[in-house]
C-alpha cells in the first residue's frame, strides 16, 4: 500500500465524493460557521438538539478530502448522542489526531488516524470538530494541553 493509499483510505475518499448529511437543516437549534484561515476553507454546521440530545446534523461548505470526509463522518457519528457524548467524541478525535491510538468509540473515524503524521493537514481534519465545539460552546480544544 502506498503512502497515499494509507492516508486516503477508501472510507475517506468515499465520504469525500459522496458526503453524508450534506445540506442545511431548516429546524436547526445551532448554526455555526467555521473557517480555516490558513487555507480559506469554510464550513457551516447545523445541529438540532432536543432535550440535550443531537437529533439531526447537517453541514455545508467546500474543502479538501480530509476536511470534507471528517465532517461527513462526524455528522454520522453525532446523531443520537447527547451533547456531553458529542464533546467527549470530539476530545477523543483530537487525541487521535495528536497521535494517540484511537478510542473504540471513534469507529469509522479512526480512518483519519494517518493525519497524525501529517502536521500540515491537522487543521483540515479538525475544522468540523472545532466548529462543533464552538456550536456547543465548549472551550476551544486548541487550548487544552496534550
Amino acid at each position: 500500500m502506498s503512502f497515499l493509499e494509507s492516508l486516503y483510505k477508501d472510507v475517506i475518499l468515499e465520504h469525500y465524493k459522496r458526503p453524508h448529511n450534506r445540506g442545511a437543516l431548516d429546524d436547526a437549534s445551532h448554526v455555526q460557521e467555521g473557517v480555516n484561515p490558513s487555507c480559506g476553507d469554510e464550513l457551516t454546521l447545523y445541529l438540532r438538539v432536543d432535550q440535550g440530545v443531537i437529533r439531526a446534523v447537517g453541514f455545508e461548505g467546500e474543502g479538501c478530502a480530509i476536511s470534507q470526509a471528517s465532517a461527513s463522518l462526524m455528522t454520522d457519528a453525532l446523531k443520537g448522542r447527547s451533547v456531553e457524548q458529542a464533546l467527549e467524541l470530539s476530545r477523543a478525535f483530537r487525541a487521535m489526531i495528536r497521535g494517540r491510538p484511537p478510542e473504540p468509540e471513534l469507529g469509522e473515524l479512526s480512518a483519519l488516524q494517518g493525519i497524525a503524521k501529517l502536521h500540515a493537514r491537522v487543521k483540515c481534519a479538525t475544522l468540523a470538530w472545532t466548529t462543533l465545539d464552538a456550536a456547543l460552546e465548549a472551550p476551544e480544544a486548541e487550548a487544552t494541553p496534550d
Partner: protein, 411 residues
C-alpha cells in the same frame, strides 16, 4: 538553449540535495520563499564571526565595520533596482512591512475621507489589508479593477477607475497567483496623469524580473529579501526621495531621532527616520550577497529561464485532461503555474505531490479575493526559480497526472 545552467547553480544550494519522503526534493515553491545559496549564508556568518556590533552608534572599530556593511548593503539594493540614490532605500522586515509603512506614514499624513485608492482584484493581502485600515480609520474609498478574459489586469478598467479623487494606484509588478507581469510604466503614466501616486508590490518582481525603477517611474517599490535568495527578516522600501522627506516616522525609538527631550522629539533625515531600533544588519549583508549572486547570473537570464520553464510546464499540462490552468499566456507571463485538478482539492494535490518529494503551494496564496474572480477559492501553484530544471518540471507534470488518476478512481 537555456539562458543559464540550473545544474551548475544548484551546487550552490545544499538544501536541493536532500530528499523528502524518500524522493529527491523538487522545490517548486520559490514564490513563497526561495532557497539560499552558500554565498548568502557564508556572507552572514563572516559578518557575525568577524565584524558584528551595533550600527551607527559606537566610535569603535567593529561598529564602524558593521555600519559600513549595512550601508554597503543599502547601496547594493539601490544599484540592483537602478534607484537614483541609496538614501531613498529603507530597510524593513519584508514587503508586507514596507507596504504598511507606505500606508501608515504616507497614507496617514495625506489621505482624507473620500480619497480613492485603486487596486486590482489580484493583489496579495499585503497590498490590500493595510488600505482597509485607512478605509476604516479615515473613510477612504477603495476601487477595484478586474481582469480581462485572458486573466491580465484590465488596463481599460484601470484607466476608467482612476478619477478626480484618486490619490494612489497600488498594484503588483508580478502576480503571485497568475504569473502575470503588469506594465508598470503604463500604469505609472495613468496614475501620474491623474495626479496620483503608484505603489508597486515588488515581492515577486524583484526576485524574478529585471527592475529599473527609473524606467518603471513608480513612486514606491516594496520587496522581500527571502524571496530573492536572501535571508528572512529583511526587506526594503524604495520611495522617491522627495516623498520620503515629506513623510512622518513609522515606528518610534532609537536611531530615527534627531533630538529627544522628555516631552518631545525631532526626527532624523531619510532613511534613518524610518528605521527605528537596531536594524537587521546581518540580514542586510545576506541580502547584498543574494544581489551579488543574482547579478552574477543576470536578471535577464533569470527572468527568461523562469518564463521558459512556465511555457514548458503549461504546454505539457495543456495536454493533460482534467487540469485547469490559470493566468495569461505570452511574453508577460512569468515563472508561476497555478492550476487545479478537476474534482481534487488543491490541498490534497499538495499532499499527494509532497509524498513524491515535490513541494508546491496550495490554498488562496494570500490573495483571497482573486479566488472569487477565478471561480476557485483555492488553487495549487508551482513556481520556478534559477535552480529549477526541466527534469523537475517533468517530474511535477507526471505527479499531477498520477494524482488525477488516483483520485479519479473514486469519482
Amino acid at each position: 538553449m537555456s539562458p543559464l545552467d540550473p545544474r551548475a547553480l544548484r551546487r550552490d544550494f545544499p538544501i536541493l540535495e536532500r530528499s523528502v519522503n524518500g524522493h529527491p526534493l523538487v522545490y517548486l515553491d520559490s514564490a513563497a520563499s526561495s532557497q539560499k545559496p552558500r554565498q548568502v549564508v557564508e556572507a552572514m556568518a563572516a559578518y557575525y564571526y568577524g565584524h558584528h556590533a551595533n550600527v551607527h552608534r559606537g566610535a569603535h572599530t567593529l561598529s564602524v565595520e558593521a555600519t559600513d556593511a549595512y550601508e554597503g548593503a543599502r547601496a547594493r539594493v539601490a544599484g540592483f533596482l537602478n534607484a537614483p540614490d541609496a538614501r531613498s532605500v529603507v530597510f524593513t522586515r519584508n514587503t508586507t512591512e514596507a507596504l504598511n509603512l507606505v500606508v501608515s506614514s504616507w497614507g496617514g499624513a495625506n489621505l482624507v475621507e473620500g480619497d480613492e485608492v485603486v487596486v486590482t482584484v489580484a493583489e496579495h493581502h499585503a497590498n490590500l489589508v493595510p488600505w482597509h485600515f485607512l478605509k476604516r480609520q479615515r473613510g477612504i474609498v477603495i476601487r477595484h479593477v478586474g481582469l480581462t478574459d485572458d486573466q491580465r489586469v484590465d488596463l481599460e478598467g484601470l484607466q476608467a477607475a482612476i478619477g478626480e479623487r484618486t490619490r494612489v494606484v497600488a498594484t503588483f509588478h508580478m502576480s503571485n497567483v497568475l504569473g502575470a507581469v503588469n506594465p508598470v510604466r503604463r500604469i505609472a503614466d495613468m496614475a501620474h496623469d491623474a495626479g496620483a501616486l503608484l505603489v508597486v508590490d515588488g515581492a515577486q518582481g524583484a526576485p524574478h524580473l529585471p527592475v529599473d525603477l527609473q524606467a518603471l517611474d513608480c513612486d514606491f517599490y516594496a520587496l522581500s529579501g527571502h524571496k530573492m535568495l536572501g535571508p528572512t527578516g529583511v526587506g526594503a522600501l524604495w520611495a522617491r526621495a522627495e516623498l520620503l522627506e515629506s513623510m512622518p516616522p513609522f515606528l518610534g525609538g532609537g536611531e530615527m531621532i534627531r533630538r529627544v527631550t522628555l516631552d518631545d522629539s525631532s526626527y532624523a533625515g531619510i532613511p534613518a527616520r524610518f528605521e527605528a531600533g537596531t536594524p537587521p544588519v546581518a540580514e542586510a549583508v545576506g541580502l547584498a550577497a543574494a544581489i551579488d549572486y543574482l547579478e552574477g547570473v543576470g536578471m535577464e537570464a533569470v527572468a527568461e529561464h523562469d518564463a521558459a520553464l512556465a511555457r514548458y510546464a503549461l504546454e505539457r499540462l495543456d495536454a493533460v485532461a482534467g487540469v485547469t490552468l490559470y493566468g495569461p499566456r505570452g511574453s508577460d507571463r512569468a515563472g508561476i503555474v497555478t492550476f487545479n485538478i478537476d474534482g481534487v482539492h488543491p490541498h490534497d494535490v499538495a499532499t499527494a505531490l509532497d509524498a513524491e518529494g515535490i513541494a508546491i503551494r496550495s490554498g488562496h496564496h494570500c490573495a483571497q479575493p482573486l479566488g472569487g474572480v477565478l471561480g476557485a477559492s483555492a488553487t495549487a501553484r508551482a513556481s520556478f526559480y534559477l535552480y529549477t530544471t526541466e527534469d523537475e518540471v517533468d517530474r511535477f507534470v507526471e505527479a499531477v497526472v498520477e494524482t488525477r488518476d488516483f483520485f479519479a478512481a473514486y469519482a
